[in-house]
Amino acid sequence: MEKKIEHFDVIIIGGGAAGLTAGIYCGRARLKTLLIEKSLMGGLATYTSEIENYPGFPEGSSGTELMELFHKQAKKFGVTFKGTAVQSVDLTGEEKIVETFRNRYIAKAVIITTGGKPRLTGALNEDIFLYDKGISFCATCDAAANTDKTVMVVGSGDSAIEEGIFLTKFAKKVIISVMHDEGIMDCNEIAKAQAMANPKMEFIWNSTVHSYEGADHLERVILKNTKTQELQSINIDSCFLFIGYLPNTELFQNQVALTSRSNIIVNERMETNLPGVFAAGDVCEKFLKQVATAVGDGAIAGYACEKYLAEGEIFEQQILNEGKKSLVYLYNGSDAVAREKITLVEDFGAKHPDMRVTCVDIYKSDGLARRLAVKDIPSVVYLNNSEIKTVLSDISANTLSTISLS
C-alpha cells in the first residue's frame, strides 16, 4: 500500500494523560498537532476504576471518564487524532519521520508519551484479576481501599519494600513474597532493616506466584516454593506486584538515550538527547508515576516544544538572515556587565547597515546559543552565508572592530 505523506508541526506518540496534556498545550499554542494512539485513548489511567488523588475532583472520578475529559479538551484545541500503531520512527534528523501502516508523517518536533506497563508474574489466572479485580501496581493509589485488610506484596526491590512499608499504615497485615533465600532482598539496606522490624510485615521466602484464585474479586494467592515446589494457599484481599516496569521504548532504541531499564532520559524541560524530541509521563525516568505528574510533564513538554519551534523560526529568519551578514550577541540578562554591552554591540551594528544585529537574552532559554554551539556567555557571533565566521567572548569596542566582516 502506498503511504500517504502528511506534514505536522508536532507529533505526539501516545494518548495517555501526558500525551493528551501535551496535545492541549500544543493545540492551544496553534501548532499543527497530531496525536497517535495505538489502542484506547486515555492510556493506563483507563484501567483504574476510581481516581481519588487527581486534584479538582473531590468526589473522585473513574479513569475512563477523566481521560475522556482530557481527550475532549485536546480536541477542542484542534489536535488531530489517529488511532493506530506507530511502526517506525526516524527522529535523528531535522525532519522527524513517524510511520504508521497507512501514513508517513513528517514533523518538526516529536513528543514521546508512550508510557509503559507494569511487569506481570505470568502466573495462572493473572489476567482475570488485574487492576480493580484485586491485583494492583500502585500502593499510592490503592492503599486506602485496603484499610484493615490483608494484602500481599510480590517482589523485594526498593519499590516493593518501600510500598510495602507504606501499606502497613493501612492494612492490618502485609505479606511479602520474596523469591530469594531467607534474609536476602533486592532493596537497599535501610528499607530492609525497617521492613524486618515492622510487626505488620511477614515474609515468605523462596516463593513465586503459582496462581490467583477468587470468585469475582481476588481471594487467594497460591505461592510455590522454588526449592520444594510445594504449593501454599494464602487468603488475602489484594495483591500488589512490584516486580518492575516495562516502558514502551522499543521503537526508539538506538535513537533516543535510555536508562539501563529502558526509560527515556529527559532534563527538566522534558528534552531528550535529540533536538526537537521531547518525552513526558511514565515513559521517562521519574520519581512518581501518577496522572497528576504525567499532566505536569505533558504541559512542560508541550510548552518546551512550542519554544523549540519558535526558536527554530527565529534562527532561520533572523540569525541566519537568509545568508546575509548577521551579528548575534548572546548574553545572560541577569548579568549587569553583559547587559551594558548591548549598546556597544548596537553601536557597532549601526556602523554596518548591511549587517543584521540580534541581541539574545539566554536567561529564559539557551536554545539559540545551543543551535550556534556557543557555550561561553556572553559571546558575539558573526555569521555570513549562513556560516559562523567569528566567535568573540572578550567583548569591547576594540575587539569588535577586529572582526573581519567578509
Binding site: M1, S39, L40, F81, K82, G83, T84, A85, T100, F101, R102
Partner: protein, 75 residues
Amino acid sequence: MQEYELDCMGEACPVPLIKTQKKMEELAVGDVLVVHIDHSCAVKNVPEWARTQGYNVEIEDVDDGEWDIVIEKNK
C-alpha cells in the same frame, strides 16, 4: 490491493464484529477493509479482534460518535 467497505451504521454489538470477521475471510492478503460504525462498543471490540489477528488497524474519527475502522489484511 483492493479496498472494501462494510456499512455497520446503526448496528449494535456484536453485529459489527461478526460482520467484520466474516468479511475479512473473503479478503486476500494485502486487501483493506473500511468498516463504518456508530456504536462505541464496536470501536473497542472490532480493533481489538483485528489486532489479535495480527492485522494492521487504524481508527478514524469521522464525526462525534461515528468512526471508520481501517483494517489491512497484511497476512
